[in-house]
Symmetry: C2
Subunit: 154 residues, 2 copies
DNA sequence: TTTCATGTAACTTTAAATAGTGCGTGAAAG
DNA sequence: CTTTCACGCACTATTTAAAGTTACATGAAA
């Protein structure tokens, strides 16, 4: 299956926006993400509606973070992009008449629901502030490393 | 993303084979699963290699279960079909140069690996014998129910 | 009033699962 | 020994959802 990278993508975008301070345009963000500006607008649309980011048109416009990073969890972001399905596997048929399939579905559903619940709980425990802190720690580690030579895009 | 239903499918097929007792041809199984015989052969190929089922050519041939249902877990079946990825989401880029993305990936990976581990552990706890027992319980419940009228395919 | 930037709809491309075709192989029936 | 049955496998086609792209409208600042 083609794996959905929207969550990964939005988190990346949000952290870049937070680092920047000033409003960033969809074009700038698209460059940093190596994707298309429209994809950025689409992906940030849900976050705007949820109140996590703000967008401004015209000169000097662009995207800004509307809340403190400490007040946004990965779970919030996941919800804001529309809660895409987390599991790559599903049942062959939902609501099958075949009792064998019902038994199989029940067993699989139990496990999948448990795994999803765990995942969402973990998402809820991680704030963007923590991710930003991890990023800064990596920055520090790189700048003191003797082999540090890569640069940061965006 | 398109959700993978191979695990669901193969469990379904195995239980039907177990119910039958006698060898079942790919055509029969395909009818029961409302799919193509080749799909059945493909899906059962991995299980044959893993020793869970046996296939016989020619007249009177077909597929049979090669082990006791109590000795096959959902985890075994998952492994036999090639351990397809369980999570529908992935990182935008593996091994990114961008430190922001590294921080995001690390956080997501932690959660995903935990959820996958839980899922596999649960799979390992469920045997096909348990699924068959659940199926029989559903059979009994249906036959005593006043509204029982659906039939079992296959 | 021109330029910049988002908002959105429609369309195209791409990746992965699933479906299907054709032909080869081997075993049993007649 | 030849026909029929059934799996084995390589290859192609279809389908679905994500991702990418184009086109144009809207609204704000220079």
């Amino acid at each position: 299956m083609k794996r959905d990278s929207r969550l990964s993508g939005v988190l990346h975008v949000l952290l870049h926006m937070a680092e920047q301070g000033a409003p960033m345009t969809s074009d700038q963000l698209a460059k940093a993400m190596q994707t298309h500006p429209v994809v950025i607008r689409r992906i940030l649309g849900g976050l705007r509606d949820a109140g996590f980011v703000h967008s401004e048109k015209g000169h000097g416009g662009g995207w800004t973070i509307a809340k403190s990073l400490a007040d946004i969890t990965m779970r919030d972001v996941y919800d804001a992009i529309g809660r895409p399905s987390l599991m790559a596997m599903g049942n062959r048929t939902e609501a099958p008449g075949c009792l064998v399939e019902q038994a199989v579905n029940a067993a699989l559903d139990t496990s999948f629901l448990e795994a999803e619940a765990l995942l969402l709980a973990r998402f809820g425990e991680v704030t963007l502030a923590q991710l930003a802190a991890d990023f800064h720690a990596r920055m520090a580690a790189r700048s003191t490393s003797p082999t540090a030579q890569e640069h940061i895009h965006g």
